[in-house]
C-alpha cells in the first residue's frame, strides 16, 4: 500500500508511503481522489512523514490535489515534511499556495 487513508470529522489524512515518482504517484493519486470525491472533506491532509524519496512528480501530486480540493470546496494542507525533502519543497513554490505547514516536523 502506497498510501494510508484515514478520516474523521470531515477531514481526510492521506499518509504517503515510500518513494514518490511518476510511476508510484498514479496509484496514490487515484486512491486519494476517489476518497476525496466520496467524502468531500473540509480539509485534506497530505502527510509526508513516511516518504523516503520524491522527485517533481511529488510536487505535481500536491499541486493536482490543491486544484481538486478547490473544486470540492475544501482546503489542502501538507504536513510532516521530513528534513531531507525540504529543499525540493522549497524549490516548488508550494509555499506560496499556503499549503505547507510546520505541524509536527519530523527528523529523518
Amino acid at each position: 500500500m502506497s498510501v494510508k487513508i484515514s478520516h474523521e470529522n470531515g477531514k481526510i489524512t492521506a499518509k504517503l508511503m515510500g518513494e514518490i515518482d511518476h510511476h508510484t504517484a498514479k496509484a496514490m493519486r487515484e486512491e486519494i481522489d476517489s476518497e476525496a470525491e466520496k467524502i468531500k472533506p473540509a480539509v485534506l491532509y497530505l502527510d509526508f512523514s513516511e516518504v523516503q524519496f520524491m522527485d517533481s512528480s511529488g510536487i505535481g501530486l500536491v499541486m493536482g490535489r490543491f486544484r481538486q480540493m478547490e473544486l470540492l470546496g475544501g482546503k489542502l494542507r501538507v504536513i510532516n515534511v521530513p528534513e531531507h525533502l525540504e529543499r525540493i519543497m522549497a524549490l516548488s513554490g508550494l509555499g506560496a499556495l499556503g499549503v505547507l505547514t510546520n505541524e509536527g516536523k519530523v527528523k529523518k
Binding site: H23, R29, D55, S56, G60, L61, H84, L91
Partner: protein, 147 residues
C-alpha cells in the same frame, strides 16, 4: 579528463524502471563514498531525466533509454541520459521553471530540480532524433570514517 570507471545501461521506457535507474546509478556512485545528501541529489536528478524520457520523449511509443555513468579523476561524477524520442523544440523554454507541455499532474519543475541538485547540466536535442542530458556533480572528499 581521466575516466576512472564507467558503466553503461539501457532499458525499456517503462515507468517501473524509474526506480531501477535511480538504484543502479546510486549503486555505481557509492564507490566515491558520497554523503546521504549527495546521493539523494543524484537519485532525484536521474529520476527527473529518466521520467522525462518516458513521459515526453517516448510519449506514444515504447523506446530505449541509455545511461552512461562515469567517475572522473578528482571525484567528479558524470551522468549521461539519452533517448531517441521526439526531441525538444525549444530547449531554453523547456528549461524555464514551471514550463510544461503536459499540464495536469506535471509541475514543470524537472529541469529546475536537475539544475539545482547537480553542479552542471547540458541539454542536446534534435526534433525527431532525441535528447541527451549530461549532468555533473563533484563529490566532496571526506576522511574515510567520518560520516
Amino acid at each position: 579528463m581521466k575516466i576512472i570507471n564507467e558503466t553503461n545501461i539501457s532499458f525499456m521506457s517503462k515507468s517501473n524502471n524509474e526506480s531501477f535507474a535511480r538504484s543502479v546509478v546510486s549503486a555505481f556512485v557509492l564507490q566515491l563514498d558520497p554523503t546521504i545528501t549527495e546521493l539523494a541529489d543524484i537519485k532525484t536528478a536521474v529520476s527527473e531525466a529518466v521520467t522525462n524520457c518516458i513521459v515526453h520523449a517516448y510519449k506514444y511509443e515504447m523506446g530505449t533509454i541509455y545511461i552512461t555513468v562515469r567517475i572522473i579523476e578528482g571525484g567528479k561524477i558524470q551522468i549521461k541520459i539519452r533517448d531517441k524520442g521526439c526531441g525538444i523544440e525549444n530547449i531554453h523554454e523547456a528549461m524555464e521553471p514551471l514550463f510544461t507541455t503536459m499540464g495536469g499532474e506535471r509541475a514543470g519543475l524537472g529541469f529546475a530540480v536537475m539544475q539545482s541538485f547537480m553542479d552542471k547540466i547540458r541539454v542536446n536535442s534534435k526534433v525527431g532524433k532525441g535528447t541527451t542530458i549530461t549532468m555533473e556533480k563533484s563529490i566532496i572528499r571526506r576522511a574515510k570514517n567520518n560520516e
